[in-house]
Symmetry: C2
Amino acid sequence: MALLVQKFGGSSVADADRIRRCAQRAYDARRAGHDVVVVVSAMGKTTDRLIELAGEVAASPPKREMDQLMAAGEQVSIALTAMALSSLGQPAVSLTGAQARILTEPAHTRARIRTIDTSRVRQHLAQGRVVVVAGFQGVTDEGETTTLGRGGSDTTAVALAAALRADECEIYTDVDGVYTADPRVVPSARKLARISYEEILELASLGAKVMASRSIFFGAKYNIPIHVRHAMLPDPGTMIVSETKEMEQEEVTGVALKTNLGRVTLTGLPTAPGIQARIFAAIADAQVLVDDIIQNEVSPETTSVSFTVDHADLADIKPVLDRILSDSGPVRGAGSWGAVRVDVGLCKVSAVGVGMRSHTGVAAKMFRALAEAGVRIQNITTSEIRISCILAKEDGEKAMRAVHGAFGLEVPARG
Amino acid sequence: MALLVQKFGGSSVADADRIRRCAQRAYDARRAGHDVVVVVSAMGKTTDRLIELAGEVAASPPKREMDQLMAAGEQVSIALTAMALSSLGQPAVSLTGAQARILTEPAHTRARIRTIDTSRVRQHLAQGRVVVVAGFQGVTDEGETTTLGRGGSDTTAVALAAALRADECEIYTDVDGVYTADPRVVPSARKLARISYEEILELASLGAKVMASRSIFFGAKYNIPIHVRHAMLPDPGTMIVSETKEMEQEEVTGVALKTNLGRVTLTGLPTAPGIQARIFAAIADAQVLVDDIIQNEVSPETTSVSFTVDHADLADIKPVLDRILSDSGPVRGAGSWGAVRVDVGLCKVSAVGVGMRSHTGVAAKMFRALAEAGVRIQNITTSEIRISCILAKEDGEKAMRAVHGAFGLEVPARG
């Protein structure tokens, strides 16, 4: 008998019929002898509709009230899920974030979980009930409702699994697992039976929309196996687990494509320390997330820095940078430091795999594949288990297929 | 500077525009220097939609989960109302029933308020905030969500006003006050400036849909003036207050009509003690609310009992009564006790006024008015401040106009 946490996303509980099917999943696991905790998101487009309503009553609604408002969404879905379980003859009880004692910091709309007091959940489990917990929400020590931000329900599920020392956290979603590449772009892409936390984190941040990173961090930290699977299909999906020996046999596990990138290049910057800190502090103040940063020293006096951001953020950044450069004082007698160049229409193709640590020539193989496909590489960045190339947007899909093929990812490999 | 509780019902907060208008009301009161607590119901048809959803997932949803589900409705409207106040520049904070510490008994879907710990509300008021509290909901000592049943938001408002020792509880609704009779039936009906708790309780139980009785009991018990007024109109409505000397000057304050009544008559019952208790215990077990009970002793051995119920409940009652009578053993040698007769299509016209205590001939005046209108009186019941006549349904409106006229209610009287 195991303890399972099952998480169902908004599209999996979008209507009464789907809620009944999710309840059936939980019921089946309970009948198989497991203790079951269910975490659900708000139904379908509920959260969007609530945000829309908020916009109709106030131009800039206070974050505290946004949290109070949005938390109502999951309150509806937990109650309905518990009812559906009851009507299958399975005793069940729904708990809001506050009732499940998911204690967070007081940062509204993006609170972090501080701790979970599982006594109440355990008490219900001990009485044979399925416990249905509201995802995405928590409560402060003062009883204020908070929400966890994007991907919050995944975070709730994995954090609860960690706090309960669950045997597995199942993430039910509308995809049937993690693939070697996006099957819409690479038709020969293959579902992975297993992937490491580290690899999925790299793939997630690279544009593979599988799970929110924060929840995977939790899984890695507490070593909770996360099973990503389809809510409406019976087949097993992909297990996200700690790195294993076999995983290292492969050079590359998956390939990801991030689109809609823009690039900013600052040239003629002083080489003296401090300018980078000033630039990126100003960008952070403008609430813009920077993707990759690449610096090249051009001469002993000047250097250039490039960085990529989401296309949509370019407009916010340009005036910030212009101001910094004009504030930096004159260079070589006249004028101000440097120049700002903005490039649009870029993408990033990345290969990820823990095997890179022990295999040589992985980068060379990737660059060769791109060259043979006639793709020009504009920038390169790497991490221990990742190689990324910035390319023209129109080369993205072709490049992805080339890299996927070069590493033989279409062939079934690890079991 | 006064402390006001303002309650807005579901139709007053049915959309973003109306919520903004309610917020404006609260804002105006705050600008006038008052401390303001706002109580809101769920938006428009929200509760009905949630009940419908529950019906789609489960045939008989557990009451605990119904409460969890329905409480989400007010959570949406409190957050939106607080946002609307903020966007007017008025600091505001929303509190769920649990956050406002409205502590109830653990009876789901019909919990009674045990006590309210007002410290948190007072703390927010002291900081200049308008406090927006969810109506209809509370919490048990164990943190379970409860709801207060029909008219629950009125109960929340008056109970909060009592706990806070508020100067007034304003009930904003879609009528502009309490009338001497329903103006749709009696066009000459007049809005009352004041009415006593006792009178409004009689009128409410007689079919005048103004406020839920439970909330008026609270008002009477703690002597909280309740101001019933229109949410979208500026005019003052009707104040519900303790009985005053002037009120006793009038014979009758208002006339009410209750339609859709059915009557059950049991004849040939034994006069020995006990049969009434058995009959009405069985009806209570069938969850049917009995309206009036009338007993006539017909002979030393047998008696007859009539009672009125809502038309719709008649079908539930008939088999219950047949069983009781056949279980009661033989009467006068052969057969079982008594017979059951069911009449449908009845109504009840009532005159109410605290002045009845000091005026004589009020009943005679009412019966004469009915006689002159050609209305046959089928049953009569009275209380200290009420006279009711059971009539054929088709006589109801004519009877009401006749009684209203006989007591001169169309003429402005008390101020």
